[in-house]
């Protein structure tokens, strides 16, 4: 447990040395607002779906930002050569890894909560009291699922492209195919099938159910699906190869 906390603390510190507070706060506040606002207003202009559809979709969609953090951390670690050092150290690697991941999960949660708060306060989204727990769980699942994607990206980044570029690529594919802005039914058949493999699709759908007043049980199957996808990625990328 101590190892867990210490690792989390140090990666937190490393993160913040990189991000001096001012730009970091801008990033935190501005990015969700702008992205959410942009798509919500396009959605409103288009009139294809109710406003809440776009608000919930994009609030959960901000989870994709976590992929940046995780993949960047993996890439930085490798660049600094500390990853192999850590892994070679006798300390158990699972707590070390989860120490890091917990940080990014927290980071992603803050992002989404900020986005949801903006949706509620600026755009008047209504979340039924009964749905709050469900929405929070959906957010948690979304972040964990995206963490898996981030790890995968961090691992392949150096072969293909710069990490940040790759994370951007992935972020857009996920945003497009997860149904955050476009109902899956509108996508061509093949693409819609691929969309089922995207580790955010079900979290978005579940969050929409909860905001729409569904009971917690109604979305649980969807959430378990995304959780399984995320867990699979996590396991694959943390197991020694």
């Amino acid at each position: 447990m101590r190892l867990f906390t210490v690792t989390a603390f140090y990666s937190f510190r490393a993160l913040f040395r990189w991000l001096s507070p001012m730009p970091y706060l801008c990033f935190r506040a501005l990015f969700p607002l702008a992205q959410l606002g942009f798509f919500a207003l396009i959605g409103t202009y288009g009139g294809g779906q109710p406003l809440s559809f776009y608000l919930v979709g994009n609030a959960i969609g901000t989870a994709t930002l976590t992929a940046f953090g995780v993949s960047q951390a993996v890439a930085d670690e490798r660049q600094q050569g500390t990853l192999s050092y850590l892994l070679a150290a006798p300390a158990p690697r699972v707590p070390i890894f989860f120490g890091r991941a917990a940080l990014h999960v927290a980071d992603g949660m803050i992002n989404m909560i900020a986005a949801l708060a903006i949706a509620v306060m600026v755009f008047g989204l209504r979340v039924p009291v009964d749905g709050i727990v469900g929405v929070v769980v959906a957010m948690l699942v979304a972040t964990i699922a995206i963490c898996g994607v981030g790890l995968l990206l961090g691992a392949v980044a150096y072969i293909v492209l710069d990490t940040a570029v790759l994370a951007n690529f992935a972020m857009f594919i996920i945003l497009l195919l997860s149904g955050a802005n476009v109902p899956l039914a509108e996508l061509p058949g093949v693409v819609a099938a691929i969309a089922q493999g995207i580790p955010l699709t079900r979290s978005v759908a579940a969050a929409r159910l909860y905001v729409g007043g569904a009971s917690f049980d109604a979305g649980i199957g969807l959430l378990l699906g995304d959780l399984a996808l995320g867990a699979f990625q996590l396991a694959r990328n943390t197991s020694p190869t």
Binding site: F38, F39, I42, Y45, G46, V165, F172
Partner: protein, 260 residues
């Protein structure tokens, strides 16, 4: 003046060779507009008065803006990374001209976004291309590039002052998309924001481009948009040139030009 233009051109050429193969440009020129274009095409086609050209133009504008934003912060981060930022600062050349040239050079790439945006409309979605006023659209495009370039120049000095800001300049991507009416009318924004949008050159770029593409604006309307585009762009450039000087002085005071 000719000396400045010459230096700007050379800077553009150096920048071209140094960062042309940068993955970020690929992202900004191709990927970002592809995502925005496809997504908004799906989102806006439910409208009764849907015009695919609206999405094509808006997508092109968003691609140009992304390119300039990435290129601006990218060029400065690159100088810092190679250690040439200090050499530039200690040379008698004007930073404004050097960075201006580099940014202007990358606008060439942004034409890629335009082609791509047309591709999304015609190839991917199979819509016919109908440009109401191709000539006026070309003029508007040229001026739009100038407007977005001026806006990019306004933000670039921040990347000189703080290393981290360089990496975070991309935060300005969506706000400018949203405030400029690239893909939805600014009237949908909260009332108090609407006057602010009128101060931004990208807003006038969007007005002119959409107006010329759809034929909704007559020549006098276009001339008005062009006028305000140049006016707001000029003001921003004047402020930017002051900012460059100010930011360099601050960096010399704080000692932040070196990578350390």
């Amino acid at each position: 003046m000719t000396a400045a233009l010459r230096l700007a051109r050379q800077s553009a050429w150096v920048n071209f060779q140094e960062v042309a193969v940068n993955g970020f440009l690929l992202f900004a020129v191709v990927w970002q507009p592809l995502f925005v274009g496809v997504t908004t095409m799906y989102m806006l086609r439910h409208r009764a008065d849907f015009d695919p050209m609206y999405v094509v133009v808006g997508t092109a504008l968003s691609g140009i803006w992304s390119t300039l934003l990435f290129a601006g912060s990218g060029a400065i981060s690159h100088e810092r990374w190679t250690g040439t930022l200090e050499l530039l600062a200690a040379s008698p050349a004007s930073f404004f001209v050097v960075i201006g040239g580099k940014l202007a050079g990358t606008t060439i790439f942004s034409l890629g976004s335009l082609v791509l945006a047309f591709g999304i409309g015609t190839v991917l979605f199979g819509y016919p291309v109908k440009i109401a006023e191709p000539g006026w659209l070309a003029v508007s495009l040229l001026l739009a590039v100038v407007a977005l370039w001026a806006t990019g120049m306004f933000f670039a000095p921040l990347a000189i002052l703080w290393r981290t800001v360089g990496r975070f300049l991309l935060v300005l991507e969506y706000p400018v998309f949203a405030l400029s009416g690239f893909l939805f009318p600014v009237l949908l924004l909260p009332n108090w924001i609407v006057p602010i949008t009128n101060l931004l050159p990208p807003y006038w770029a969007a007005v002119a481009m959409h107006g010329a593409a759809s034929g909704d604006l007559d020549l006098s309307g276009l001339l008005r948009a062009w006028f305000f585009l140049l006016l707001t762009g000029g003001v921003l450039l004047v402020i930017a040139s002051r900012l460059f000087v100010e930011v360099l002085t601050r960096a010399r005071r704080a000692g932040t030009l070196a990578l350390s």
